[in-house]
């Protein structure tokens, strides 16, 4: 059946299902007309109606079992539950009455399900309940009682307010500006009353305000945010998350997760007043939280009058009414900087009363100077990073270097400060969580100053060198950022390119400067690797070749120079990696054989742990290349050499996790070689030893990406050995574990394309295993079909992962055919399932 035909059948069918059975025959005639095929399709489906009720009933569906809500309790505390009247993030609200019938007063019962019932929560609720019970104000729905259910869930008994939500009440009136202001003042007075008792609301919004038929505004949920958030000073640390908020009414500081004060309620009241008067909120309605957060933190609210919809009735006169003092008052409440808002709700309300009485208001239009300052500061506010870093950035602006005069003294001061920022502070704040963005910003700023100075100073070489090193560092940090935000990749490459370019020019200008040559080569190597990470493989190979050529002369002329030797080694290693990325193995082997020679030379020049490790690495990398090109004996020999070195390192220092990981790689690769030589029991043994070491390392440092990735890789490899042993069940179990780990890793910040590729490869392994199983179940048709379908599903997932990488330009071209390969395997499996 085609989709179009099903659409027709569906329309008729739906209409008949809604028709009384006695009328259906006539309706069927009318709807199908002469289309007998349509008619027979509909009839055959309609005949299944009762059976569908029995078999595919939504109430009997598996979903219903796990969604089944606990039925509403009959009583809560001393109250009988009448019905559910609301449901939100915190819990359920019921309408209730006194169970003992003492007096028939209706109450709202708020059952909090958003907290984990335990003793600590219980104590906190009890304390808060006592505080809230003090709030007695006509504008605040009273807290009557509270407690905990037998199951430990806290509940509040609140005054039941029979009213309309604020905005709806105003619309129905409809209320004019003066009436709306009077209503708003009721609300403001209630909030001010609570503030005097040191209770802030935290979640003020029109939906939390009901207006009774008598025109009394009542605030609901006062202080509940505080209870849920549990963030009062002196409170123990609780496992409850941050307090609830409604982004559309939240202040910039609340969005940024800073501490909540009275100023936050002032701001939220400002938004409410804005909406009451202009008919919409200051910032565009969007479901994208980030956009909204950005607008709240960065964008200026439009003037109140401009926000009025031009098509609204009496728009012109409303705008005239709002222009001027009201606009200024609202703008003051909505200031980004809490210190520039009304310090208290009372003062906010007092200014509104002055306006109503026609007296001069206290709020002033912001001066142009203030606006200009905010323009400058705006870009910095958006980055919630280490407070220290922010302080420094703002400090820069205050320092006013930009206008620094060109005198010698100034020059040195600026240079010294920029240098300190770039090379000392920068490192100092690096360990702060979330400081990457701040470092990038800080570095950029310092770099601007350095570059400016460098231009002023003409050909000052040491200054240029500082600028170049600055670019290299910025490029590195931007590279980190790029992992989270691919838009930053070009920034990072551009910075690295600039830095490497300057250093290359400087080094060419003074061939005798060994330090400069070293810095220049290293910057070039970093840039080449960054090209590779960005998926620009041709650029990577070209630059690596050029760098090898630049490093050759010095290393050849001074074989005893460890720095020159290791620079050449690093350049050759980068070249080999670039070639490996493109699967150009024979060329890579040539580079790697040279790397190994140089590593031996370095050990002989200066024997150290680090040099030993490099040598072991060099042997391993070479071994791997022998392995993939089928030279298995060479491969095993090199790995055994590496294993010997790494075992010695582990024995010398059992706490050295890096040595353990290194050894695990030796073992894992020996396992691969054994597998390739068809010695499967040996292979399993090697891989299990490797997995054990890796798990030790991963447990020692859960943040260690490499260790965690290695655990997943080992699991996959064990799976592959099982598969080869024709033990598909064991293989699947290992693969599934690997998939889970890779999936988790690929979502970590800093995960690269290779993790996603590993995930895709493992999925494809799973698919192959299902195919094996399907073939093994030649007799059980239904099972075979299910196995093939499972295989198809896995191939499809693998294809989607690889296609995603390809579309982002991250998959090496040589692997592009795998995308279609996966698709055709999936199709084949689906065909086999038929």
């Amino acid at each position: 059946m085609t989709a179009a035909r099903w659409g027709e059948v569906k329309t008729v069918l739906a209409s008949l299902l809604e028709t009384d059975p006695s009328q259906r025959a006539a309706e069927l005639d009318r709807l199908c007309g002469s289309d007998s095929e349509l008619r027979s399709s509909v009839e055959s489906l309609l005949a299944l109606e009762q059976k569908a009720d029995a078999l595919l009933d939504s109430a009997g569906a598996p979903g219903a079992a796990w969604r089944a809500e606990a039925p509403a309790p009959e009583t809560i505390g001393a109250y009988r539950v009448v019905k559910e009247i609301g449901r939100g993030g915190m819990g359920v609200v019921y309408l209730g009455e006194r169970a003992d019938g003492q007096y028939r007063k209706q109450v709202a019962i708020k059952l909090i399900t958003a907290a984990h019932p335990d003793a600590q929560t219980g104590r906190r609720f009890e304390r808060e309940r006592q505080i809230l019970a003090q709030l007695e104000h006509p504008g605040i729905a009273r807290l009557l009682d509270g407690g905990a259910t037998a199951g430990g869930q806290p509940y509040f008994i609140m005054e039941y307010v029979d009213g309309l939500p604020l905005l709806e009440f105003c619309r129905r009136g409809p209320l004019g500006v003066s009436e709306r202001l009077l209503l708003f003042l009721q609300i403001a007075d209630a909030v001010a009353y609570a503030h005097r008792r040191l209770i802030v609301h935290r979640d003020l919004k029109p939906g939390n305000i009901l207006v009774t038929a008598e025109g009394q505004a009542k605030l609901l949920d006062f202080g509940l945010g505080q209870i849920i958030g549990g963030q009062q000073p002196g409170d123990e640390i609780t496992q409850a998350g941050p307090a609830p908020m409604t982004p559309a009414y939240a202040s910039p500081e609340q969005i940024r997760g800073e501490s909540y004060t009275v100023a936050g309620d002032v701001y939220s009241l400002g938004v409410i007043l804005f909406e009451l008067l202009a008919g919409r909120r200051p910032y565009p309605a969007t479901t994208n939280y980030l956009d909204l957060a950005r607008a709240i933190c960065d964008a200026d609210a439009p003037p109140l009058a401009d926000a009025v919809d031009a098509n609204a009735p009496h728009a012109a006169s409303l705008r005239r009414r709002l222009r001027g003092d009201l606009e200024t008052i609202v703008a003051k409440a909505l200031e980004k900087d809490p210190r520039r808002r009304y310090p208290t709700v009372d003062e906010f309300a007092a200014d509104l009363r002055r306006f109503q009485e026609g007296r001069p208001v206290m709020a002033r239009k912001p001066t142009w100077r203030y606006r200009a300052a905010r323009m400058v500061a705006r870009h910095r506010i958006a980055v919630p990073a280490g407070a220290l870093a922010l302080l420094l950035i703002v400090g820069f602006a205050a320092f006013g270097w930009w206008e620094a005069r060109r005198s010698e003294r100034r020059f040195n001061q600026v240079r010294g400060l920029a240098h300190a920022v770039m090379f000392e502070l920068y490192d100092a704040i690096a360990p702060l969580p979330g400081s990457t963005a701040a470092r990038a910003l800080l570095g950029r700023r310092a770099l601007e100053y350095l570059e400016n100075l460098s231009q002023e100073a003409g050909g000052n070489r040491s200054l240029q060198r500082e600028v170049a090193l600055g670019y290299a560092r910025i490029g590195e940090v931007e590279g980190d950022l790029a992992q989270a935000n691919l838009g930053r990749v070009p920034d990072s490459l551009e910075s690295l390119r600039k830095g490497a370019g300057i250093l290359e020019r400087l080094a060419a200008g003074s061939p005798g400067d060994r330090g400069l040559r070293h810095e220049s080569l290293r910057a070039a190597i970093d840039l080449a690797r960054a090209y590779g990470q960005a998926g620009q493989f041709d650029a990577e190979i070209a630059l690596a070749r050029r760098t090898v050529a630049s490093a050759e002369p010095a290393a050849g002329a001074q074989p005893g120079d460890a720095v020159a030797t290791s620079d050449l080694e690093a350049a050759l290693a980068a070249l080999a990696d670039a070639l490996i990325n493109q699967k150009r193995y024979p060329e890579a082997i040539a580079s790697r054989e040279r790397v190994q020679d140089l590593a031996r030379r370095l050990v002989s020049l200066h024997d150290s742990q680090e040099a030993q490790r490099s040598l072991a690495l060099a042997e391993k990398r070479l071994a791997a290349l022998y392995g993939v090109t089928g030279r298995l004996d060479d491969c095993r020999r090199e790995y055994e050499l590496a294993r010997t070195i790494d075992e010695q390192r582990c024995a010398r220092n059992p706490q050295d996790m890096r040595a353990k990981i290194d050894l695990s790689f030796d073992l894992s690769d020996l396992g691969w070689a054994a597998g390739a030589m068809n010695r499967l029991d040996d292979a399993l043994e090697f891989h299990r030893k490797a997995l054990d070491l890796r798990q030790q390392a991963a447990q020692a440092d859960p943040q260690d990406f490499r260790a965690a990735g290695a655990v997943a890789a080992s699991m996959r490899k064990i799976g592959l050995v099982f598969k080869k042993m024709a033990k598909p069940r064991e293989a699947l179990a290992e693969f599934e574990q690997a998939v889970q780990r890779y999936g988790e890793l690929s979502r970590r910040p800093g995960a690269g394309w290779a993790t996603v590729r590993s995930l895709a490869e493992t999925r494809s392994d799973i698919a192959e295993t299902w195919t094996d199983l399907a073939q093994a179940h030649a007799t059980a048709a239904a099972q075979r079909r299910a196995d093939y379908l499972a295989a198809a599903g896995e191939y499809e997932q693998a294809r989607a992962l690889l296609a995603g990488l390809r579309d982002q330009g991250k998959l090496p071209k040589s692997e592009w055919p795998n995308v279609d390969g996966m698709a055709s395997l999936a199709q084949k499996a689906r065909r086999n399932a038929q």
Binding site: M1, A3, W6, G7, K10, L13, A14, L17, E18, S41, L45, L46, L48, E49, K51, A52, A54, L55, L56, S58, G60, A61, P62, G63, A64, A65, W66, R67, A68, E69, A70, G88, G89, M90, T113, A114, I228, G229, A240, G241, P242, A243, P244, T246, T287, N288, Y289, L290, R729, Q740, G743, R747, A780, Q783, R785, A786, L789, A790, A800, G804
Partner: protein
């Protein structure tokens, strides 16, 4: 992953971003599995978790309490439905395998949920037919997934898919019939 990231994922899912759904699914699955394991390990014997409570707790842990937006909850339930479908299918396959090979897994997540489909329905066959319906009519396929595997109400399904409750009702009513016929009969033209 931080709650606000999850909340953003949910918002993106709400905007129809399929990549966000792919990202979210394993999170939900892992979280549920983790909670179920903890439940089974009787780490907190005093804490009786009902399946619903489990899902609710997973939601709170993943999304945090900052997001009280009901729409987010609808999208979360949508993701959970997709996940439950996979859980059930895996479970059915594992059960078949167990029958075949005579071994039984230790307690699974599926057991912890206590979700077993009606024995009258072969869930693998249903899944197969649902895949076919997905191809024919993706929106209708989604409605079935949410209603049948996710246990979403008509209103929740409507919220999740951004369509009217009346449409959901029609889609569900007709889809059931189509599925039954597809599972039972010879393939229709």
């Amino acid at each position: 992953m931080a709650p606000q990231d999850v909340a953003q994922l949910l918002v993106r899912i709400g905007e129809g971003d399929k990549a966000a759904l792919d990202e979210m699914t394993p999170l939900v699955y892992d979280e549920l599995r983790r909670l179920a394991q903890r439940l089974l390990a009787a780490e907190r014997p005093d804490h009786t978790l009902q399946p619903t409570a489990l899902v609710h707790e997973a939601y709170l842990r993943l999304v945090g309490q900052r997001s009280v937006d009901w729409r987010n909850r609808a999208h979360f339930l949508g993701v959970a439905a997709t996940m439950m479908r996979r859980v059930l299918i895996n479970h059915a396959k594992a059960r078949n395998a167990a029958k075949r090979e005579g071994f039984s897994n230790a307690v699974t997540l599926e057991d912890a949920f206590g979700i077993f489909p009606s024995p009258a329905i072969d869930v693998l066959a249903l899944n197969y037919s649902l895949d076919e319906l997905d191809k024919l009519d993706p929106q209708q396929g989604k409605v079935v997934e949410l209603r049948y595997f996710g246990g979403l109400s008509i209103e929740e399904t409507a919220e999740c898919l951004g369509i009217s409750p009346a449409t959901v009702k029609r889609e569900w009513g007709t889809a059931r019939l189509w599925l039954l016929r597809h599972m039972e009969g010879p393939a229709q033209p």
